[in-house]
């Protein structure tokens, strides 16, 4: 019996392609978000709120990731911005190669920002770097304030946490203070924004963060 030592990261190939994507985004000064959540937390709604408010001088594109249908891309297409739908046919997360393939559909010289709406899943996407500038994770008030503790990997790797559907707070047993405490326990550096895509609560704060990030890039 002999040993073949490898010490090799299993997702090395994905990480290498993600690094290529990241380099390209930096060179072209494109601020990129990987938008993550469980199914139904409001990623597409948040995107719609974002695009409706986007200043004319910001050029943005969207990549949609779903297991099936292009319904999300159709919603985004109404805002007259470049959008590509990736259908994974069962894949529960997007990978860097899929993003790299999608980039050929955009005029990268004309872009300031790219938002990648990942497949609805709080587990697997945490492991797959896409080359993004920032990871933004959404939870909604209908999901439970213990979400960060149940899915620590996702919240640990994220930069921003959005607590969405704040308009439903009176109807659910969701404690915002507890949710924040749980989130900070996993990731003390998280920026947390409370939003409602229905009432507009917190959307200005989200837009301000977005503009600042685009400006820095």
């Amino acid at each position: 019996m002999s040993i073949v030592t490898l010490e090799r990261k299993i997702l090395k190939k994905n990480d290498e392609i993600a690094a290529e994507n990241r380099k390209l985004f930096l060179e072209r000064e494109i601020f990129t978000i990987n938008l993550l959540s469980s199914p139904g937390s409001g990623k597409t709604s948040l995107l719609e709120q974002t695009l409706a408010r986007l200043a004319n001088h910001i050029q943005i594109a969207v990549v949609e990731g779903d297991v099936q249908t292009d319904k999300d891309a159709q919603r985004i297409a109404k805002y007259n911005i470049p959008v590509v739908q990736i259908i994974t046919n069962g894949g529960c997360h997007l990978e860097a190669q899929l993003i790299q393939n999608a980039l050929g559909n955009f005029d990268l010289n004309a872009l300031n920002a790219l938002i990648i709406e990942n497949v609805g899943n709080l587990v697997c996407p945490a492991n797959y770097d896409l080359g993004e500038s920032k990871k933004v994770v959404l939870i909604s008030t209908t999901e439970g304030d213990d979400k960060p503790l149940k899915y620590p990997a996702m919240f640990h790797v994220s930069d921003v946490m959005i607590i969405n559907k704040m308009d439903l707070l009176n109807y659910v047993d969701f404690d915002v203070t507890t949710a924040k405490e749980n989130a900070y326990r996993i990731n003390p550096d998280l920026k947390i924004i409370e939003t409602s895509c229905r009432t507009g609560q917190g959307i200005d704060q989200w837009m301000n963060w977005l503009y600042t990030q685009i400006k820095i890039t």
Partner: protein, 113 residues
């Protein structure tokens, strides 16, 4: 199921490595998976078995070593086991930490004959 995607990556790495070694038989693939990484060992085992069926690697074992989460406090230098996902120093309460281990997703080594 992303364990299948991970098993596929393992399979490709094994193929790539052993392509250079003539006449060896793969007995075991030893993985190190950190506590923070969201992978289900049983699912990964299952996917690996399915992928290696009717290949030269059929019958090879997948061993998964779970690596516990450990941090080092950048404020007081204390090294500690991160328990129950509390990412703060038990000695000085600082949240300024380096994660020393527990985020791995790698193949440590292969055992061949």
């Amino acid at each position: 199921m992303h364990e299948m995607s991970i098993a596929q990556s393992i399979f490709e790495i094994v193929q790539e490595t052993l392509a250079k070694e003539d006449g060896v038989q793969l007995k075991e693939v030893v993985l190190e998976i950190g506590e923070l990484v969201a992978v289900v060992p049983d699912s990964l085992q299952f996917c690996y078995t399915v992928l290696t069926e009717q290949t030269p690697y059929q019958g090879s074992k997948l061993t998964i070593n779970i690596i516990p989460l450990k941090g080092m406090c950048k404020t007081c230098g204390h090294c500690f086991r991160i328990e129950k996902m509390w990412f703060s120093c038990p000695r000085c309460d600082s949240t300024d930490l380096d994660i020393m281990q527990g985020q791995e997703l790698k193949i440590s080594h292969l055992e061949v004959t």
